[in-house]
Amino acid sequence: MTTPDEDDDLLSRLRAADPVRDLEALPDDRILRMINAATASNPQPASSPARSPRRPLLIGLTGATGLAAVAFAAVAVFSPTTASATRLVMPDDPGLAAGSCPALDAEQLKSSPLTMAFSGRVTAVQGSEATLEVTEVFTGDPGRQVVVERTTAESGDYSGFDLVQGQDYLISTVEAGQPDAAAEIALCGVSGPASSELRAIYEAAFG
């Protein structure tokens, strides 16, 4: 059992090794310039992805009713701007190794800074890219088709997952950071093969 004093000693030793302990605060005019740059570069901020009711694609329906329903769903779900595939990237450094990922629950999923959440089936794997047909949209606008740039895990303790042709997946994304970069797949159990457990969490979070 350690004492608070021992924890304090450890804290002091770590803080003495802080590589930026002597970093001076930014001057106010520099902060203002950064604020102006951010607000000027994007005068109309993106609204948060709608937590709209789930939008399933009505695959498998037949007959005139089915065709009409599919046509309606296509209009409702896919805007003209999503005619081309949405590009996503599977991070090779998700920040946490697999063994450190917290157990996922609906509340955590709901409060995460996610930009999209959807289910999809892998229809093709070619080289480092996998193509998914989106089957259900929980939030955001992934479009009809998504292309994922797969990366090679550099660590054995990796919280990512393989994309296998014919398999179904539940995928969420986070903001890429740079405006033109592909959105990044949220890992650490947030995205993965469409197990009944993960689907239940998605449905509770977005349903």
């Binding site: 590589p19 063994g99 917290p102 740079q178």
Partner: protein, 178 residues
């Protein structure tokens, strides 16, 4: 929200988070990348202002972590491309800051820890996040944070002992060699 209110709220958020997030980035990458990633992070905050919670720091840390991972991936891709072209350019990964602060035994101990433990300790000691803030950044409960911190501190103490013994052994060998 009217434009003026939005701008006022954004400015308040930035002033609240800019120094801790800037330091977070400066501790984990080189100065140029840190500056670029800070600008990316602030841009995301502006674009996602409606999503920024009342206590913004943990949320913004997650955004900064994602932006940094993105920048490092771009640097690695660039390095791979340069190698493919047969050029002899610099390193493919972003160089990290010198983090031993003149305490090589501590640097050795941190390097021997699991990355998740070392990062938790850095967030606790360097970024001075409270257990509640750590819970927000890591997406776990405050109770889980306290348990993990306790274990990580224990592992760090073990590694400090091992590294100190190793350093003493090395010094002894050097004296014998003379």
């Amino acid at each position: 929200m009217p434009d003026l209110d939005r701008r006022t709220r954004y400015e308040g958020v930035v002033r609240q988070v800019i120094e801790p997030v800037r330091r977070y980035l400066a501790r984990r990458t080189d100065a140029t990348t840190a500056e670029d990633v800070l600008a990316d992070t602030l841009l995301v905050c502006w674009r996602r202002l409606d999503d920024v919670p009342a206590e913004p720091l943990p949320w913004v840390y997650v955004v900064a972590r994602n932006c940094l991972a993105n920048a490092e991936r771009a640097a690695r891709r660039q390095g791979r491309l340069v190698r493919k072209l047969g050029a002899t350019a610099g390193p493919s990964t972003v160089p990290g800051p010198d983090s031993d602060g003149g305490d090589p035994v501590l640097a050795c101990a941190l390097a021997n820890l699991r990355p998740a433990d070392a990062e938790l300790l850095r967030l606790w000691a360097w970024d001075e996040l409270t257990p509640g803030e750590l819970a927000g950044v890591l997406g776990v409960s405050e109770n889980a944070v306290n348990i993990r911190l306790h274990r990580a501190r224990g592992r760090l103490r073990d590694e400090l002992r091992k590294c100190a013994e190793l350093a003493g052994h090395d010094r002894g060998e050097r004296r014998t060699d003379r």
